[in-house]
């Protein structure tokens, strides 16, 4: 995503075969791979649903669904911010872009803070990485998602800084679009994770 292509660097600068920039195609390809990455993590969590290793207190009963719903809402709203940021830079509205890109990054940060708070509460209530297959698969799944959000926030802040120094303008709107693709993916994957973790009634599974 970070590269100027050979085609662009060469004098011919002929269009790409598919008419889609290499960076965008590369991002879509990466996201295809990410689907399997999160698919494997979610599968592992579902396989280990209800395996409490003799510690039945550490179960989905710990989940604070209203709290996580709020942070989920914030994360989903950040996708709106991303769309508005892209729209602003495509119109050449640098000020609007900076406002929205920073808002998006801040909403991502709010979500991450919520995750850190949630982890802290869970650990205090005795849910640790080594407690049970249930706990291990919960932490590994949610923290890998958290790492993805963190990387996304880093990219968003970088975009903001580039815009502030005048190096990101309407001409590079494609870069914003590619980061946006990544950001929307991370949000969409969270919808699946949130559903799998928080919305499946656990009494039914554990019987």
């Amino acid at each position: 995503m970070a590269e100027l292509t050979t085609a662009e660097a060469s004098t011919e600068s002929h269009a790409t075969s598919l008419g889609l920039s290499n960076e965008k195609l590369g991002m879509w390809t990466l996201l295809g791979s990410e689907c399997l990455f999160f698919g494997a993590l979610i599968s592992a969590y579902l396989v280990y649903y209800g395996r409490y290793n003799g510690v039945p207190e550490v179960s989905p009963a710990l989940y604070d669904i209203p709290f996580t719903s709020v942070s989920t809402f914030v994360l989903l709203m950040s996708s709106l911010g991303m769309v508005l940021a892209l729209s602003a830079i495509q119109r050449g509205d640098d000020r609007g872009f900076r406002i929205w890109i920073l808002s998006t990054a801040m909403m991502g940060t709010v979500f991450l803070s919520g995750q850190i708070y949630e982890f802290t509460v869970f650990v205090n209530e005795g849910m640790r990485l080594d407690t049970s297959p249930f706990a291990s698969s919960f932490y590994v799944l949610t923290s890998f998602h958290g790492i993805h959000v963190t990387l996304g926030v880093l990219m968003l802040v970088t975009l903001w800084a580039r815009s502030m120094t005048g190096k990101l303008t309407e001409a590079n709107a494609d870069v914003v679009e590619n980061v946006g693709l990544y950001w929307h993916f991370v949000d969409i994957v969270w919808i699946v994770i949130f559903t799998a973790i928080y919305l499946i009634p656990y009494e039914q599974v554990t019987g």
């Binding site: 100027l4 292509t5 660097a9 790409t16 075969s17 399997l36 080594d130 990219m155 990101l168």
Partner: protein
């Protein structure tokens, strides 16, 4: 991440000056040229091929006679594990990358891959993974759980730690040593996976987006098609084993519970995730060889490939079906009759597209003017040896038969026929075929023919006899055996065969080195070939083609060399007659290519540092993790702000 326009105001962070060297060590470290990267892949792959070969010879010396004590059981476990891991992850996958890098962009008429620096990053990360993996030699040992490293053997070392001490140490020491070895495995393969994932993305984008004008998908050489299928398989298979490796790492290092049955974990999860990667991986290894021989056989049969469309779709079908057969590696694990039956059927199905390919290669040779030069010998050898391996593979799909074969030398014989007989024979054929393009000189034919026949003989002695050993009940992975089972003669013969293979490989390497200076000058098109990589000079200039060729047909070069006569036949155009077969221009003119960069190699350095951090604990670990992360992320950032090519250069 951001890309920046290549204008003078955005030269980016001036952490490191832009490398300028075009010769010498730094030109190789900083290169972004797909051809130089391909050559480096070749050298690194050959290095690991020799390492794995020496490991194989050590295994064979140990097993040559009964009750041998040449290797201790502990060392033996490490050596057979690393033979498998090295051959699969550090020879097989990068061998594909060697050809993809050098040949694929030339075959589609591109100047380079889509992301040249990412390509360099892939190579250096692959090297970092190899160094990390073998650093186990000084950090308590190499992985010893077999290449598929089944849980819970990999996680809890069986039920009783105290009974499993290394060198008379305590159970605690044993646990530490075991943890270290499993970290080597999990983190080492994780790093190697990053390299392959990056190159998979790169090759997919390159093939889909960088084709020369007129090069439609169905005009692409079969090799390019196979590259595309392999890249997609890597793209989707790697994250699956990636998760399994993370789970293993968290389990052995941080006490997570994934695979420990006594804590409610399920070892079968590892098996499923490993083989969900592992079976596509088999096709990741073999399809490059299928692609290579699909280029060699038409050239040396003087015919277009028979059934091009069927050939392409068979390759794509293998790519899809390859996802539905993984559990045939696990028939003996107790999945139950329904699952076993389903996977038995899918396994028989996948033999069909493979059979289509084999018949099409034979159909290509049928009625052609076959020239038995060394590349062609290796290609025919690939078809024959792979067919034998494929047939023994079909016998595995029959579940009751499979129960009998599981974990015996019959299985070892099978997968060496498909991987050595398929992948290695095909790749060596590819070396002989494209060597003149890479170096400008032909490899020695006499040495080549001796190389082929000795390799064929040594290979069949070694692995052919293993079928019998397996059916006579010899289990794989045992470090020694008692006399009296009737295994002595065959084992001794097999060891002899293994040394014959080693001698033949030495001959190959000798040929590679000697021909570099003494080989006959090749010219641009020594084999009278059919595809566009033979239109440019040998070796190609750094920009590949002076002018990007306009593609109007499959086998473009053949069509340029032939014209339709009045009677409707194809007739050979006299050399130089068409004038546009080969264009030589000495001056580089103003073709702008991406500049070299320090950052890909620098970014790779951080990854093994983060891996080694896990061997420490407390603050040391945190500091090392941070240092590694700063190096990698910092280099990636600097790379992002660095324009692909400097202005006015």
């Amino acid at each position: 991440m951001t890309a920046v326009p290549a204008d003078a105001s955005t030269r980016g962070l001036k952490i490191l000056r832009r490398p300028k060297a075009t010769t010498g060590l730094w030109s190789w470290v900083t290169t972004t040229d797909h051809k130089k990267i391909g050559i480096m892949y070749f050298i690194a792959t050959m290095f690991f091929f020799i390492v794995a070969g020496v490991e194989a010879l050590a295994i064979r010396v140990q097993l040559a006679v009964p009750n041998n004590d040449f290797l201790t059981p502990d060392v033996y476990n490490q050596i057979y594990t690393m033979h498998g891991v090295t051959m699969v992850f550090f020879v097989g996958i990068p061998l594909g990358a060697t050809f993809f890098n050098y040949i694929m962009p030339l075959q589609i008429g591109a100047r380079d891959v889509a992301f040249p620096r990412l390509n360099a990053f892939s190579f250096w990360v692959f090297c970092a993974a190899g160094i990390f993996m073998y650093s186990g030699l000084i950090l308590g040992g190499l992985p010893d759980g077999g290449w598929f490293n089944y849980a819970p053997l990999s996680t809890t070392v069986g039920p009783d730690l105290s009974g499993y001490t290394y060198g008379g140490g305590s159970a605690e020491l044993a646990r530490q040593v075991h943890t270290g070895r499993m970290l080597m495995y999990s983190v080492g393969l994780q790093i190697a996976g990053i390299a392959s994932l990056a190159s998979a993305i790169n090759f997919i984008v390159t093939i889909l987006n960088m084709r020369a004008p007129g090069m439609t998908l169905m005009r692409m050489p079969v090799f390019v098609w196979m590259t595309l299928v392999v890249a997609f398989l890597l793209l989707f298979a790697l994250p699956v084993i990636g998760i399994a490796l993370w789970q293993l790492m968290f389990e052995v290092r941080f006490g997570a519970n994934f695979f420990n049955p006594s804590a409610g974990g399920d070892p079968m999860l590892w098996e499923h995730m490993f083989w969900l990667f592992g079976h596509p991986e088999v096709y990741i290894l073999i399809l490059p060889a299928f692609g290579i021989i699909s280029e060699i056989i038409p050239t040396f049969s003087r015919k277009p490939i028979f059934g091009y469309t069927a050939m392409v779709f068979a390759g794509v079908a293998i790519g899809f079906l390859g996802w539905g057969v993984w559990a045939h590696h696990m028939f003996a694990a107790g999945m139950g009759p329904v699952a076993n039956t389903a996977f038995s059927l899918t396994t028989m199905f996948i033999a069909v597209p493979t059979g289509v390919k084999i018949f099409n290669w034979i159909g290509t040779m049928w009625g052609g003017k076959v020239r038995l030069a060394t590349p062609m010998l290796f290609a025919i050898g690939t078809v024959a040896m792979f067919t034998i391996g494929g047939l023994s593979g079909v016998t595995h799909s029959v579940v009751p038969h499979n129960y009998q074969q599981t974990d015996t030398y019959y299985v070892v014989a099978h997968f060496h026929y498909v991987l050595f007989g398929g992948l290695v024979f095909g790749a060596i054929g590819g070396f002989y075929y494209w060597y003149p393009k890479v170096t400008g000189r032909l490899m020695n034919e006499t040495l080549g023919k001796i190389n082929f026949w000795t390799l064929l003989l040594g290979f069949n002695i070694t692995f052919g006899l293993m079928h019998f050993l397996g059916l006579w009940g010899m289990p794989r992975r045992i470090d020694t055996y008692y006399a009296g089972f009737g295994w002595e003669t065959l084992n001794l013969l097999i060891t002899g065969g293994a040394f014959l293979i080693a001698a033949s490989v030495a001959l190959l390497l000798l040929n590679v080195v000697v021909s570099l200076r003494r080989g006959e000058l090749a010219g641009d098109d020594p084999w009278d070939a059919r595809t566009v990589e033979w239109m440019t000079s040998s070796p190609p200039a750094h920009y590949n083609f002076r002018e990007i060729p306009q593609i109007s047909a499959r086998d473009e070069l053949w069509h340029r060399k032939h014209a339709v006569s009045d009677s409707g036949d194809y007739v050979r155009v006299p050399a130089g007659g068409s004038g546009d077969v080969v264009v030589h221009e000495d001056e580089d003119a103003d073709i702008h290519m991406p500049d070299p960069s320090f950052f890909p190699a620098l970014a790779a350095v951080g990854l093994p540092i983060m891996g080694w951090a896990l061997f420490a604990s407390g603050m040391t670990m945190v500091v090392m993790l941070v240092v590694g992360a700063v190096i990698t992320v910092g280099a990636l950032f600097a790379w992002t702000f660095e324009p692909s090519a400097e202005e006015g250069h």
